[in-house]
Amino acid sequence: MTTEEILGRMTDVFRDVLDNDAIELSRETTANDIEEWDSLAHINIIVAIEQEFSLRFDLIDIKPLRNIGEFVDLIERKTS
């Protein structure tokens, strides 16, 4: 799976969970850039990503992530 594919599927998940079709993700996107992406919604996104990519994360995997780029790298590592 290429980085672009992962980013595309993640964008769909974000749009679906946060109920906002205008969301565009890039490697530099952070939670500060998306109003709906707050502490309450965070784990909902993580769980939806787990289902999308058939993965399982630990809290310790996802807590240090600073932007979408690091999230993509994590998914790449887990799926390879």
Binding site: S39, I43, N44, L59, K63
Partner: protein
Amino acid sequence: MTFNSFSYFVFLSIVFFAFQAVAGRYRWLVLLAGSYVFYGFLLQPALLAILGFVTAFSYLAGKRIDRSEAAEKRKNLLFFSVFVNLSILVYCKYLVFLVENINLLAGLFSPGSSIPEVEPMVSIALSFFIFQAISYLADIYFRITEPEPHPGLFALYISFFPKLLQGPIERSGHLLPQLGKPYAFNYDDVRYGLLLFVWGLFLKTVVADRLAYFVDPVYDNVQAYSGIPLIMATYAYAFQLYFDFSGYTNMALGSARIFGISLTQNFKSPYLATSCTDFWRRWHISFSRWILDYIFQPLQMKWRSLGRNGTALALFVTFLLSGVWHGANWTFIAWGMLHGMFLVASTFYKPYQKKIHKILGLEKSSWHTAFQIFLTFNLVCFTYIFFRAADIQDALYIVNNMFNFHSNFLSIQNAGLKDFIIKQILSDNSKYELLILILSLATIFAVKKYNHISLFDKPLLIRWACYYCIFLGILSLHVSAKPNFIYFQF
């Protein structure tokens, strides 16, 4: 020495001039010494010792967690260090409550048996700096942040006086880099800090303390009232609490800003929230982020196989604990549970919300938004009944009697209402207080609308006219009773 006391103005001035006078490498020492002196003014040596212990212990524990490579060892170290910090909090803040309730429970099953009662302890600021220490340790464990190598800067991060007593609860990643960076005098920072401080003083001493006139007589003797007075006192309390706490926060932010440090803003127009979830994005933000990041998210992750039920359960437990954090009293626990229940309900309603709004054509209706704000505000006010009442009995009395208008309440046959109107609203003194309140609230709306930062762009004459107005307003209109800040007790 609280922010609204004269001694604090003197203290702040001394620390500021000492901070400017010493060489750059000693500036942290001035702030650290100032913070310990500030806490020492409570005249509670045990609290100072606990502050010192929590600081030293968390500093060493943070280093230890960071040095450990094995995942299991890191986790055990985190649990141990959080356990030690929480034990101190439980011992100082909740032991009396625990013993009372254990004895109550023991009395039910085996009359006469009890464990010895314990003396209540002063626990001012403990829950704030212990929560901050826990967030530091957790962030090191999750590799969000590096441990602070400089013990002095770490001690300052825990004890920095503007946020010591009532927060904001600062994350190490936000505050520590600011404490460590070289300082350069910035006139705009000092000016903005002072204005923020004075504005907070106005909110506290002129508005919040005045609102107490309309709250305390009712809440101190709830059985004497029914119907409208109970509702009005609860609405008044909602604004008293907000102006008290946001006034304090402005004073904390202003005090820090004159040293070039930006603390977290705790409020974002909370009473304009359109749902209870939205309320918690706007109210006591540094605290709500803390409970969501360190309690809710781990629980939600753990229970994610339960789907929406897991999320609901995690929310309920988180807000129950948030109630416990506010104090060892069943009223706070009930307040937390109510918020938990509202958020649980919104978790189950949310998937249908958009569809229902679409069917009813409410999607872009400003009337509907206004209704959502009205409903949320009233739900929040309902929880305040428990937050403010002296005990659960008083709170339940208010809940049972707030809509008890008797048959003809408008004709003032209700003794409680008549008494309330005559004593609290129509007396000469109260009319004057009410007028000041209305003028103050109009000022607050004007300031919110035109944003006080833009004041600095105005001509000198207008700027100084505004400064004098605020200053004279505080001097002439402040409430002289000087009650303490409400969140001081937490």
